[in-house]
Amino acid sequence: MSHSKAATIFNKDEKKVNWHDKALWFVRHKRDISAHTVKGWEELRSLGQGIKAHTLSNLDTYLIQFEKNALNNGVQVHWAKDGDEHNKIVRRILKEHHAKKVVKSKSMLTEECHLNPFLEAEGIEIIDTDLGERIVQLAKEPPSHIVLPAIHKTKEEVDELFQEHLGTKPSGGDPQYLTGEARKHLRQKFIEADVAITGVNFAIAETGGFVVCTNEGNADMGAHLAPVHIACMGIEKLIPKQEHLGVFLRLLARSATGQHITTYSSHFKRPQKGNEMHIIIVDNGRTEQLSRPDFRSSLHCIRCGACMNTCPIYRRSGGHSYDATIPGPIGSILSPGKDLKEHSSLPFASTLCGSCSDVCPVKIDIHAQLYKWRQIITKETPQPFVKKFSMKIMGSIFSKPKQFEQVGKIARWSLRNLPKGMINSKPNVWGKERDLPLGPKESFDEWFKNRKKDGQ
């Protein structure tokens, strides 16, 4: 389904749209307050952008350096060219340990690789331990936001979901009670787990270590209790030096939620004695995106979600309308690189207002890339005849002033003289909820000519 169709459905419940919009605007506002307390915020963004650009243009070197250091630390390193290879590596590690129960902290990469259904088909229990992730997992839905995965759900909906799956009592959506129950439920899962999977926020080439950021401490709970820790990362998660964390951790927390620092920034370097630590480094289309100069910088993304919170379209269409692992503005420039035809409506789900680019902590020119994807999509994917034809006609009219004048005359006459019911009939989508201006008798051109004649 195209974004506009899904968004139209989402908009049938205006109250919910208002609530969704306000909830995310609140986060954007918190981010503003937080960013404004940092002296040199714009310089920090430039620094973040610069470090990412440098890393990506030397990615081969840094990846090898990272692997070497991680191996020296006693970590096992695996390379996966796509999601399928990634999932198979995870399965192999689980098999080696006869693992049946897995806990996982938030990782958009494993979402992208569809790891959960893959392992579930093998009879393995995989539990998402981030509260929001657990909520959408119970609801059998994908996350609708990369930082706030269950932002589309009200607390009353969560209440019902927990009653059904966790056997909680009806509480009318009492957040304290519900989180308390989730905590009990998840504690048990942490204790029973054979393997813990985490994502990676930053991998440091010079040390071979990596950092995972969570607000719930669930990555630590999983990784410290289970004998095996598997960390999954895209190749773009690399930064050259430990000291660069000072730039990115500050940018990430503030941009994501307005916090000064994420509650847990957990640094992992080597396995505990007797335990195993694995890192899976995944490409899955990233090198292809890296090869496109216009879209390369989309790989700077540190997954803060600020572009979603600020996007007036995202806030009013909900994450699921994008039908992609990463929704919102950043997803709309990443997804077409994976499957142009499937995601061809996404770059058009924008007014090109540019707020996403200005809010982005690593200065990705998101709206400019949306514009560029549009140019590619109209050439490389099938387009409705009417759209193509009307653009051709418009292009031709605007290159010939005489024609422009005549067409303008007809249009103005029609707006003035045709009955409203006819003007706002079905083919005129504009007229469904909006009036068109009354066509003036005289265009500016005509007025100007007469004015000159009158010698004014």
């Binding site: 605007f398 005289e442 500016f444």
Partner: protein, 251 residues
């Protein structure tokens, strides 16, 4: 100083009063303005829809009409931004480069080229200033709420000097109105919702008039206001800045 006036296609055909106000305002400020008669459109409608290649004729026509001028002034931030940002779809001849460098949105031109702040207008109403996105985040006609910079607004600076005008504060100072060119039709539901929300913000904060640098945003908002019979008047910034003498709003 040779100044050429560009009147965007939809203003020319549907809102000639905005063109008139722009021309009269510039003349009142003693600018000798030429209006080349062969002009049509900046090419943006096709380009933003993904058909940049269909906009080449319009771009060339624009350059042919305006290559002789020192300044090209227009009552639109969006068209000015399009010429500056996207005219690389045609070969970068000297004429093209010159045209792109010399394009100005009207308020930017008055404040920063003419160095005039008080245009001698009088408009005793509560005005909500809608900061059209392409002018704001494209041309940086003002500070943007996302960025940590000093606060300023070219349009606000001119409006502040208008006698009797009270600029109201908005809850969301620079959110998009949802027009977005063909977006207004292809994403109709979201576009309408965004427009309704923007209007409500102005109403909630006591605006009698909504103004902006771009008639495209205003056409969308006006369409909603008219359909829903809301007590708001929609005027382009040029119409306010050109208000001299007693002004009575026709509601």
């Amino acid at each position: 100083m040779k100044v050429g006036l560009f009147i965007p296609c939809y203003i020319n055909q549907l809102y000639p009063q905005v063109g008139k106000a722009t021309l009269e305002l510039l003349e009142r400020l003693n600018v000798e303005v030429a209006y080349p008669s062969g002009q049509t459109c900046c090419g943006q409608p096709m380009a933003n829809s993904g058909y940049e290649y269909e906009s080449v004729g319009a771009c060339n026509n624009f350059v042919d009409n305006f290559k002789e001028f020192d300044y090209i002034v227009m009552p639109s931030g969006s068209c000015a931004y399009h010429v500056k940002k996207h005219f690389d779809v045609i070969p970068q001849t000297d004429d093209v480069v010159k045209v792109r460098e010399n394009v100005y949105e009207l308020c930017d031109f008055i404040l920063n080229v003419l160095k005039v702040k008080n245009v001698g207008a009088s408009f005793p109403y509560k005005v909500g200033l809608h900061k059209s996105c392409h002018g704001l985040r494209g041309l940086r006609l003002g500070s943007c709420s996302e960025m940590v910079t000093e606060e300023y607004s070219y349009i606000g600076a001119l409006l502040e000097e208008v006698s009797g005008t009270e600029i109201i504060e908005l809850t969301r100072e620079d959110e998009c109105c949802g027009f977005g060119g063909t977006f207004a039709v292809t994403e109709e539901a979201i576009s309408v919702k965004m427009g309704k929300d923007r209007i409500q913000d102005h109403l909630d904060n006591g605006a009698e008039v909504i103004t902006a640098t771009d008639t495209s945003c205003l056409m969308h908002l006006e369409g909603l206001v008219t359909r829903n019979k809301q007590p708001l008047k929609i005027l382009h910034i040029a119409e306010i800045l050109n208000s001299v003498g007693d002004q009575k709003l026709k509601k």
